[in-house]
Symmetry: C2
Amino acid sequence: MRPRYSLILSAMRLIRPSNRRLSSIASSDSEFISYMKNKAKSINKALDNSIPLCNNFVPLWEPVLEVHKAMRYTLLPGGKRVRPMLCLVACELVGGQESTAMPAACAVEMIHAASLILDDLPCMDDDSLRRGKPTNHKVFGEKTSILASNALRSLAVKQTLASTSLGVTSERVLRAVQEMARAVGTEGLVAGQAADLAGERMSFKNEDDELRYLELMHVHKTAVLVEAAAVVGAIMGGGSDEEIERLKSYARCVGLMFQVMDDVLDETKSSEELGKTAGKDLITGKLTYPKVMGVDNAREYAKRLNREAQEHLQGFDSDKVVPLLSLADYIVKRQN
Amino acid sequence: MRPRYSLILSAMRLIRPSNRRLSSIASSDSEFISYMKNKAKSINKALDNSIPLCNNFVPLWEPVLEVHKAMRYTLLPGGKRVRPMLCLVACELVGGQESTAMPAACAVEMIHAASLILDDLPCMDDDSLRRGKPTNHKVFGEKTSILASNALRSLAVKQTLASTSLGVTSERVLRAVQEMARAVGTEGLVAGQAADLAGERMSFKNEDDELRYLELMHVHKTAVLVEAAAVVGAIMGGGSDEEIERLKSYARCVGLMFQVMDDVLDETKSSEELGKTAGKDLITGKLTYPKVMGVDNAREYAKRLNREAQEHLQGFDSDKVVPLLSLADYIVKRQN
């Protein structure tokens, strides 16, 4: 894998304010929140079914039961389900059924949960609070947490493979698994986490260098999995290569925007408001957007990414595209 | 997943001394060792190529480079390559080419290396010596070790998927990925590792209960991945369901036998002879075969598993089956 410095810098230069506010056709905030809640409900149900605590009324073998409990602890109650929702909507946008992409949507959320468990470990970010409750290793211990994280990633592969039972062709399923494997390895999450850890001890020649590193880190740490969510959904739904590419570009902007806003909220909100330890990036000396460019510029950058995201959706069915336009708007406006 | 107590106990009862020493047709020890070295050479070359340190003469991005170094540290020099060899031989036995199964064989070894890295972590077995050198986390630190382990598992999936470029059908590749996902999740390695960790604090009613737990633990911790190696090889080579099943049964015996001998060697050999910390299971109170049934009975059990393994190979081409007969013999006789 080669650093894509030049690509990213050009992309950043290209992100210009646009007069076309495509989001004007997006539904109202409350309509979108209700839409999102409905999607989250179906997703939560599918996730709940995917990790049982017993098998035909017989309890699981005790060591496995403990790992399943740890997997459910982080996977089930939490989150806005942005990634799986994006996967389902991408599938529907290219003409597929929600149900066709549901196993893959669950898989993406499992991969995300697995990476949260690892991020919080004592040897990583050493965090004790996540979504308003103690982190996984605080409840189950480090050993079980690491196993649960591994098990979630392996279940993600199994879930995606199970899509063949819904009539998806082997070729499409293989392509989807490939996208996911790419997103979790050294072309994706692993690179992002490694860069995050290395970033604390790096020194940069100037602000441009620092920004380049930060961007590359978040492309890998956050955007690649958001991209994979959209791409896998579109693959499952039978999208064309061009549709898949456009959804991927949209998702990259959304993923980066999500991270920019995460950094902004970490600096401007309290732990209670966020449900996780706030202000930690500042204390630990981690690179963040507000630190490199200031809070106001970071907010402005998120807005520019939102406009670019919306531009990538031009040409799709204007009704079906509404949830994606609203999702981008929602992320840039979010308060926790 | 349900515990397969009854199945395992019946299997153990069925393992009876047999007069048919199929291994008499196996080649001599020195011939087999030379055969194994040749296979290991091809495997090592393929593994070396799979994790580069630069891309078209351009060094990798620094954080990724560090992870790749950690992956190579555990994956490259080490081991007897029993699992990938089994994968290649299974492929050839059912009529396939060695090269067809090479990506999958590398994948199995990557999964194995990933689990070794985790096993050695301070929060797991806290080991500082493996194959005669410091463990991964002693060299690269816990954070990078965990990322390297994750990256190896994701690369394993990518390797297997790459088999389509060798003309293997999507259906076969899907089936192979499924077997691997099963082997690493709560139906395989994770269950075994969880049982291993839980075993230390468990109390058993009697020796039968203890043995049942020990067996179930090693079926998951060791045998399932050895099974997957053989099964995936046979799938890639286009084996029939019956051939795949027989190779799976053979591999289960070999996997268990490998573990029984590992426990015996841990108790009877020095750290220098083994290249890893010896006698540790005894100190940490881990369940082992010698502890539950005594060293002599454990050796006897390994011999019985060897006979059963060889019986499962009846019906295959008597020339092509020689390496598998010899492999089983080699494991039961190994000294480190």
